[in-house]
């Protein structure tokens, strides 16, 4: 009652409130907001459902910056088939439900030519079926091993980044020959972690090694010490792929547990994307190894393509934003957006794409692509594209933490990561 009487003293007239709400409604209905019907000239319209909020927000922020830089570059050079590229960004909240809703929105309201930019596998898994049903070319920038497993469809392609299966297959020989053959895996207990567990177990076995302990950590866990005694005594290598906000705690507790007599440690940079290596809790990682798709720190043998790409996106030699050295990029993933955009451009140019009526031609043209040479358009490195599988294959880096920076110790060949698959999306209906 006290609250009610207190509120009644507030003198905001209801009529004003109604006016404000009415004004907001009018604003929302205004032409500035209702964009789809007001396209001025013929453009290539690309839907970009990025993870602006939710657990993928740090990735989404950099995906958007990278995509903006790539689109600006394409448009400066005359666009695609003489048409400027217009990118329509919406936030999917890293939520599968919203992700699939956005596919519908891009397809039926904005009537875009293609959609690109989804990363998290559960968002991809929910969105791809809708893209297939709506016959919307859907370019994913994920690492999910869904395409290779035959779980997606004719309209879903991944021309910009390799999947987990390819990554672990490429690196297992180096891990076995350089770090050790008895491996304890620590991974999050959901699909991303399970992909690592299953594909790496098989890959290390092929090298004569074995996984001596598999420690699955529930995704909701915030303290890890009680899991660490499960690390097998004979372990030569600890393989970790933890992700999420608790990862710093994980690294610190792992360091406290192992002390100085530790086995070799190999991790995935996914754990520390957008995280500064100079964070005090991470000093324990010095001398350990990480997978990187694209080296965060500019290397001594940096290619001119990487230099060009960094400059255009606004990333310094330490992998941070040129505007804010504390704003660390997601360098091992965001190149996929850049390369995907240029792959779309290549496909559209190959089929002389003029508009949504040519969407099937775009899929057919993409399936004909066999390789992307290393270039400004593909700065991460040369790649092979498997048109039947809709999946690209590329090289991987294994980097060592030295003095708080990552230095590339080994780079795999493209062939190291290629795997056989019976999946053939070209046989599906178009």
């Amino acid at each position: 009652m006290k609250i009610r009487s207190g509120l009644s003293n507030l003198s905001l007239p209801r009529r004003d409130v109604l006016k404000t709400i009415g004004g907001a409604a009018a604003l929302l209905a205004s032409p500035a907001v209702i964009r789809p019907g007001f396209a001025q000239e013929k453009t290539i319209r690309l839907g970009a459902p990025f993870h602006r909020t939710g657990i993928g927000a740090s990735y989404g922020r950099w995906y958007e910056r990278t995509a903006n830089a790539a689109v600006a570059l394409v448009n400066e050079a005359g666009g695609i088939n003489g048409m400027q590229v217009e990118m329509i960004v919406e936030d999917d909240g890293t939520d599968p439900k919203r992700g699939s809703e956005l596919i519908e929105k891009f397809a039926t309201e904005y009537k875009v030519d293609a959609v690109f930019g989804h990363l998290f596998s559960h968002v991809v898994a929910a969105s791809a079926p809708r893209a297939g049903e709506l016959k919307m070319p859907y370019f994913i920038c994920s690492e999910a091993s869904l395409l290779g497993a035959g779980k997606l469809n004719r309209y879903t392609l991944q021309p910009g980044i390799t999947d987990v299966r390819s990554q672990v297959k490429a690196m297992a020989p180096w891990i076995a020959s350089t770090l050790g053959k008895k491996v304890t895996m620590i991974f999050p207990d959901y699909n991303f972690g399970h992909d690592h567990r299953d594909f790496f177990s098989a890959a290390i076995a092929e090298q004569g090694g074995e996984v001596v302990a598999k420690i699955a950590i529930p995704p909701t866990e915030t303290s890890f010490t009680r899991y660490l005694p499960q690390i097998a005594p004979e372990t030569e290598v600890i393989y970790h792929v933890m992700v999420g906000p608790a990862v710093l705690t994980f690294v610190k507790e792992l360091g406290d547990y192992l002390g100085s007599q530790r086995p070799e440690i190999f991790g995935f940079i996914d754990s520390l994307e957008a995280v500064d290596f100079s964070t005090p809790q991470l000093s324990f990682l010095d001398g350990t190894y990480f997978w990187e798709a694209n080296p965060r720190y500019a290397q001594a043998e940096q290619t001119p393509f990487d230099k060009f790409y960094r400059e255009k996106v606004g990333v310094d030699a330490n992998g941070a934003s040129t505007a804010d050295p504390k704003d660390i990029s997601t360098y091992s993933h965001m190149f996929s957006v850049w390369e995907t955009l240029f792959a779309i451009k290549q496909g559209m140019e190959a089929c002389n794409y003029q508009g949504p009526a040519n969407q099937k031609d775009l899929i057919l043209a993409m399936e004909q692509i066999t390789a992307f040479p290393e270039s400004n358009e593909h700065p991460q490195g040369a790649k092979v594209f498997n048109g039947k599988l809709h999946q690209v294959f590329g090289s991987q880096c294994i980097s060592k933490v030295e003095g708080g920076k990552l230095v590339v110790a080994h780079r795999t060949s493209v062939e190291d990561g290629m795997y056989e698959s019976d999946v053939d999306y070209t046989k599906m209906d178009l």
């Binding site: 929302l28 907001v33 439900k97 699939s100 809703e101 079926p129 995704p219």
Partner: protein, 320 residues
């Protein structure tokens, strides 16, 4: 409620249903897709409102029933190849049974304890989905195969990839839910439920079995939420652990509070406003959830009974 008032409500519901049916002929493609999702979410919110609005029980765990429907239908289709109609019926039944079991335990508590118990059951449900990842594929979820995108009804075959087919199925489910609630609330059983909400002690003193009345509504509410989840999974072809998360327990609460708890059409109005607002605002700003929060605060301060609750208070006292 007088016979005349009931008739007015019945005509209003029928008029709303007629408008919703006709919308498919005038709305553009995207709005048809949006409206389909909105109608399914409205069924979920109707189920929630049956409990909150008519018995006065605030559950914080209704995502459990939505997810139960989603997975019971989707997993039987995915793993056992069931036909869609059978899977849907099974899912509604499974949700009702689950609601019966949970209701039998949770309804022994009241107020805050009830909220916490329902919340805990929902958390158990969410973790169960992750634990049995071999069946559910955990966080990543499952996409239903192409063969499950066709519903064979015996007399006709429905193509679920077709937007209008999905619209009409969602419409049918919403219409059935509204009519079931209308009839139930107009019946003697419905009047006992609202009596429990208005004065539980007096209702008990008059000799009515309050626990049975609550449990009956809890089961109806769970079954309705499960039906919404089952239809959502089957119509859009995806099952994911997100749908069992806390967020999906809160959403029907917000839809109901916005539209008006204890009004038959309130949840539908709440869904239309909130989903529409999120969709438009997300084009303008990443802070759309913040704006939604502010709008909710404003509405609850100035219209604490929600949109239709305020309409009933000021202009249409006969509104159910």
């Amino acid at each position: 409620m007088s016979r005349a008032a009931f008739a007015r409500n019945a005509w209003l519901v029928l008029a709303v249903l007629a408008v919703l049916f006709s919308l498919q002929f005038v709305l553009p493609d995207y709005q048809v897709l949006m409206a389909t999702r909105m109608m399914l979410l409205a069924v979920f919110a109707l189920g929630f409102n049956a409990l909150l609005g008519y018995v006065g029980l605030l559950s914080l765990g209704h995502a459990l029933f939505f997810a139960c429907g989603l997975y019971a239908s989707g997993l039987t289709v995915y793993h056992f190849g069931w036909g869609l109609p059978a899977a849907f019926v099974f899912a509604v039944g499974a949700s009702a049974v689950l609601a019966l079991l949970i209701g039998a335990v949770a309804l022994r508590t009241i107020r805050v304890s009830f909220m916490i118990v329902t919340l805990m059951f929902a958390q158990v449900g969410a973790l169960t989905v992750l634990y049995f990842a071999a069946w559910t594929n955990g966080q990543e979820g499952l996409s239903l195969p192409a063969s499950a995108r066709v519903a064979d009804l015996g007399v006709a075959t429905l193509d679920l990839t077709d937007a209008l087919t999905r619209y009409n199925i969602a419409y049918g489910l919403l219409a059935a839910s509204l009519l079931i609630l209308l009839v139930y609330l107009g019946s003697a059983r419905g009047r006992i439920a609202t009596a429990v909400r208005d004065n539980e002690g007096r209702t008990e003193m008059l000799g009515f079995n309050v626990f049975a009345a609550k449990l009956e509504m809890f089961v109806l509410s769970g079954a309705m939420s499960g039906a919404a989840g089952a239809a959502y999974g089957l119509l859009f072809g995806y099952l994911g652990a997100t749908f069992a998360s806390f967020q999906y327990s809160i959403e029907p609460l917000l839809f109901t509070l916005l539209g008006g708890a204890g009004t038959l059409l309130g949840p539908l109005v709440g869904v239309l406003f909130m989903v529409g607002l999120i969709d438009k605002l997300s084009e303008l700003t990443t802070a759309y959830l913040l704006v939604i929060g502010v709008v909710l605060i404003v509405l609850i301060l100035w219209f604490p009974k929600g949109i239709l609750g305020t309409v009933r208070e000021r202009w249409l006292p006969w509104l159910m």
